[in-house]
């Protein structure tokens, strides 16, 4: 990120006098608006403006600002139900918001525009800067200035030091060293800019990885009842969301059976009924030909088949029923998934549709109570676990309306052309497992045969997740490097037996700790040359400069 030399990144100390190379860099100057330069001039100006640090900053801000509505309005990709609710509650407003992509912020064209411009801007400023840094890496530290005493840090002492011995010592301290006839120049801390570049490049890679994951990955949701199986094919999902570049054949061909699901709840006290643990036991085949293995699926422990991950998202009850129609035929036998209408007690509701029933089609509304307790003339559930499961059945007969071709929800009964069977009560007597309800008018009977549970699963394949993680880790590493490493220079001049040492740090705010480091370097240099005349007042020069209090900052700011 480069512009004028007073805006040189998260970290660099603007020191015009110390950086002659900066004036050679064309991007350093504020791009002058081209006057009558034609298309090329304008393009060049546009590119420079786009890749300037100020633009990158503004884009970064816009990026953040742009994501705010994504947290304020419900998002289709996160919660389509709440979006539909919004449309119902305030249709005109919702329509306008929808025109501005407020319900799809993160896939909207304007968000993509910010994202792409930021991408370009980052790329456009990282690469030239990398080139500059590469050249600088090979450049030698500059020769010693004439008067070392004028530097922010300096010290002088007497000793039998040679240019070679000083250079060797500084090299041992991992300084990059250049020597002259009577001086040594050393520099250290190049990792700072390296870190800075690493950070910015990693951000680019991260953006790439996220994009690639969206293109080549997919997600799917499915609900599975105990005892049932699932095979990873597009058709098997209740909802399938593929990236643009995903084909049906590319899905990992695994399959599994849900053997058992277990939910544990707090049994007593204030938090009675709060879930403690969910655990599903699966029998998994990684591919049609591989042997099956048993896997315990938990909330934080997804099933991993070669990078395709399956997560446990939710659960519920699936009571099983047997329906016999008016002619004595078994018209329905199996489980039906119920949705909890109350999370605290898992009172759940579901619908059974029996289109094959004769003479009339049958439909049932079911209320499932996992732990049933009578409450006056009514029955309620008091606990989410299935301690005393019962169902309340509301039977209907007539036309289920399935022939119209209109898709229907499996959780809703369209009662327009149905009539209740018998006297409809809000609180029918609950059935226990094994109980049978004889339907009025000889329409048949329904038997409550048992209780199973269902789990909802999400399968996700995202080839970008590992690259994204690596890029994010590299970004943090680069960030830490660029925030902690200081660029610093030390010069030593030796005339006869008089040794002068000067130093400065080229990094904003690094002065205080550099003072300490400088004092250590001076001690280190003196150490090898035990000078016969110890000079406390010289040592004091070095120490005096050390900021003794936080207020002594003017030399560093």
């Amino acid at each position: 990120m480069t512009t004028k030399n007073d805006e040189s990144g998260v970290s660099e100390q603007p020191e015009q006098s110390e950086r002659p190379e900066q004036s050679e860099r064309p991007e350093q100057r504020e791009p002058a608006r081209p006057v009558g330069l034609g298309v090329v001039g304008w393009l060049r100006w546009g590119w420079r403006t786009l890749t300037s640090m100020r633009t990158a900053l503004i884009l970064l801000f816009l990026f953040a600002l742009g994501s705010v509505p994504g947290s304020v309005y419900p998002q289709r990709s996160v919660d389509p139900g709440r979006v539909a609710q919004y449309f119902k509650n305030s249709p005109t407003e919702a329509e306008w918001l929808d025109r501005l992509w407020m319900f799809d912020v993160f896939t909207s064209p304007w968000f993509a525009a910010i994202y792409l411009l930021l991408f370009l801007s980052l790329a456009g400023c990282v690469f030239p800067r990398a080139v500059v840094h590469f050249k600088e890496l090979r450049k030698k530290p500059p020769a010693a200035p004439r008067n070392l005493n004028r530097l922010p840090q300096s010290a002088a002492f007497e000793g039998d030091l040679t240019v070679e011995s000083v250079a060797a010592k500084l090299r041992r301290n991992r300084f990059r060293v250049v020597t002259g006839t009577d001086w040594v120049s050393a520099e250290k801390g190049y990792l700072r800019e390296t870190g800075n570049l690493l950070f910015h490049v990693s951000l680019l890679v991260l953006l790439f990885a996220v994009g690639a994951g969206g293109l080549f990955g997919y997600r799917g949701n499915v609900l599975v009842v105990e005892g049932d199986g699932f095979a990873n094919t597009v058709a098997a999902y209740d909802r399938f969301m593929p990236g643009q570049r995903v084909s049906a054949e590319s899905l990992q061909p695994f399959s599994f059976t849900l053997k058992e699901f277990q939910a544990t709840y707090v049994a007593s006290g204030d938090k009675r009924g709060q879930p403690l643990d969910y655990s599903a036991t699966l029998s998994v085949q990684d591919s049609p030909s591989s042997p099956s293995r048993e896997v315990e699926l938990k909330v934080n422990e997804p099933l991993d088949v070669d990078g395709t991950l399956t997560y446990l998202l939710g659960h519920g009850y699936a009571p099983t029923f047997k329906v016999t129609d008016g002619k004595g035929h078994a018209a329905y036998e199996g489980s039906v998934a119920c949705l909890a209408s109350d999370q605290a007690t898992y009172t759940s509701e579901c619908v059974i549709k029996v289109p094959d029933a004769q003479p009339d089609q049958l439909g049932f509304l079911i209320r499932f109570l996992p732990t049933t307790v009578p409450n006056g003339a009514a029955w309620v559930s008091v606990f989410p676990g299935a301690a005393n499961p019962t169902v309340q059945v509301f039977p209907f007969s007539g036309d289920l309306g399935l022939k119209s071709g209109q898709p229907q929800s499996v959780y809703q009964l369209d009662t327009d052309n149905l009539k209740p069977l018998g006297k409809m009560s809000a609180q029918p007597t609950p059935l226990n497992v094994g109980d049978t309800l004889e339907l009025a008018d000889g329409a048949g009977k329904i038997e409550f045969t048992g209780v199973k549970e269902w789990i909802s699963l999400q399968t996700a394949y995202d080839p970008g997740r590992v690259p994204a993680l690596l890029a994010a880790a590299a970004a943090v590493l680069g960030l830490v490097m660029s925030l902690t490493v200081r660029r610093r220079r030390v010069w030593v001049r030796i005339t006869d037996r008089k040794v002068t040492v000067g130093g400065l740090t080229r990094t904003e705010g690094g002065g205080a700790s550099f003072a300490e480091e400088f004092a250590e370097i001076v001690t280190m240099l003196r150490g090898a040359a035990p000078s016969e005349t110890s000079q406390p007042e010289d040592a004091a020069t070095a120490i005096d400069r050390e900021p003794v209090s936080p207020s002594n900052r003017s030399s560093e700011e």
Binding site: P14, T264, D277, N300, P302, L309, V476, L483, S555
Partner: protein
Amino acid sequence: MPPAQINEGLATLSDQLILVTVLLYLIAMIAYALELAFGRSRTAAAVKTRELVTVGAAGSDSSVAGSAADSAAGAEGESRTAPVAPAGWAVKAGAVAVVISWLGWAANLAGLLTRGFAVDRWPWANMYEFVVALCFASVTAFLVLLTRQRIRFLGAFVTVTAALGLGFAVLFLHVQAGPVMPALNSYWIAIHVTAAIIAGGLFLVAGVCAVLYLVRNDGRMSVLPAKEQLDRIAHRAIVIAFPIWTFAVIAGALWADRAWGRYWGWDPKEVWSFITWIAYAAYLHARATAGWRGKAAMIVSLVAFACLLFNLVGVNIFFSGLHSYADVPK
């Protein structure tokens, strides 16, 4: 799987320890304030004189000379206007304040630990526990910095902020100790939330500095610390906190990849963590940019801090999302 057993005795002890903490922080705050008000004139003058000498010795480096002259003028001005009789007892009050804040710190720590032992899990899984831990982290950050630098002048402001934070948590956020939902039952809580707390504590110290910076008048004498000091401490705290915050967000993404089936999904908490991250990055850039340094950068840092607070309070209370573990009492 954690046992549902809760040690009620320990849980009550934890609540009482937090009240003791609030009290100790308030006492410490008063002692710090006494030192600020009555003990500073002498120390300030002494420090300034010393600085004057040092800077003078540094010679005529042109970039330094201007500011040296400024601060020299300021120092002279201050020492001239300063009352000559500083109160010795007030300086002692400062030392006492430090001891009391360490005591408060210990009570705060004990409050956290007893809560953790009472429920046999990491004690920062809901908003009450999180805010208590956050206040603990900010006081820790201050006390640790204090052992290395002379920043006692910040004490009053940090302790009063922590006391207010704890008071807010006790009054409005408190929930009975209890087990957590299955999603939180993971070692990631130790990594992700701990990192968020440490970063948050440091950001809080920086936020206190930024507010003082903006409140303080230039030029005139003030009991408030000098602007350069505030600027420097805020910067240092943010430089340390920023990578930790980055780590916390990445750890959150890793956890989300385990728990929710995607590492990033623009959940409200994710959006606001990201916004906060950008805002602090903007502060770091601004401070390195001539023309933005000083007041403007400080304002950016306060905007960032506001985003952080909104992420904690606003997102937990106003938005519903996957990250709704805060368990805010209704």
